[in-house]
Symmetry: C2
Subunit: 201 residues, 2 copies
């Protein structure tokens, strides 16, 4: 049976997007399945850790604003930010959870569309209209998707995912979880690759 | 003329130690000189950024305590921590600044001894006695080194280095500075390597 790696993501993070691109290749190389699991940095970083948002942190915020475009250029990933780079990730996260409850494979394709739209195509994926369009392209009903965003059951489902991620120790994205080990950062993908190849070190 | 890369470090950080090992090879490959420059995370992280020490940060602290030993194992670097892993880096930093003012090359060797002692050999490099021994091994007078740690001129010199690092935008270690670009983290060494090879991207 194929091993399953958990991939924790939040659409708000451009590093999460780079991680989502990189894990496809790494997992495929090792015949490993990927379970996409949403979290929210607003809950882990601001709520649990008591830290300000990265972009507003002195010194580190300006550094990051230079580092992530450099990472995109190095990897040849187009950078064109929706909503001028600021994103409200909650609606997209809830839409993901709603789709995942119905079709896990479609949920991955949806997440990939949201990430690509927000960070490579300049589409504001905070927008309910744009989320609905992304869902429609995958065969989901536009009005059902929009209704799901305010459905208490969907909200609870999404929040339970976020709580479970934090309970596991996930604080940033991308985070990869395999064999009880957490790997945080797209810069840890070579570690994940090696871990999958060797079974640990 | 050889290019010079600035390497910002604080003995308190095991990642800084890994960076100090890695930059030797990367810089040599490109015929690049390395200028070792001290900073203090206590000033940048706690003072300027207003954040708690990494080890005490919820979620991230426990993650780091697992991540850095994994990084050591992956790179085949022995991990044996002085002072049970907690370190007061100020005396070592001042001793470095005092030595650097006399002999830059000896200062690098001193820093390498301090880092290796603290993180690979289980020697508590918060200890003035151990710092004096490290200086003595490089030909510096034991009593002069100890006196320097409380010399107002040495204190001011060291503090000026820290202030200059922060003014540049350095908040964590290791940080590498070349061509006006900052690269933070030993995991960015491949970026530094590529930057030096290509002149940017």
């Amino acid at each position: 049976m194929a091993r399953t790696l958990e991939f924790y993501f939040d659409f708000i993070s451009p590093y999460g997007y780079l991680g989502s691109l990189g894990i496809v290749e790494v997992a495929a190389r090792h015949g490993c399945k990927v379970d996409w699991r949403p979290t929210l940095l607003g809950v882990s970083v601001m709520g649990v850790m008591g830290l300000p948002p990265l972009g507003e942190t002195p010194l580190k915020g300006p550094y990051m604003a230079n580092d992530f475009p450099r990472c995109f250029r190095l990897q040849g990933v187009p950078l064109k930010m929706g909503g001028n780079g600021s994103m409200a990730p909650l609606p997209a996260g809830r839409a993901f959870s709603w789709i995942k409850a119905q079709d896990r494979s479609a949920a991955v394709r949806f997440a990939q569309r949201v990430y690509r739209g927000q960070w490579s195509e300049g589409i504001d994926m905070s927008s309910v209209d744009n989320l609905a369009a992304a869902g429609e392209a995958l065969g989901f009903d536009r009005r059902e998707l929009i209704a799901a965003l305010d459905d208490p059951e969907v909200k609870a489902l999404h929040r339970a995912s976020v709580d479970a991620a934090i309970e596991l120790g996930v604080f940033g994205v991308p985070t990869f979880h395999i064999d009880g080990e957490l790997f945080w950062g797209h810069d840890r993908l070579p570690h994940v690759d090696r871990w999958l190849a060797t079974g640990g070190w």
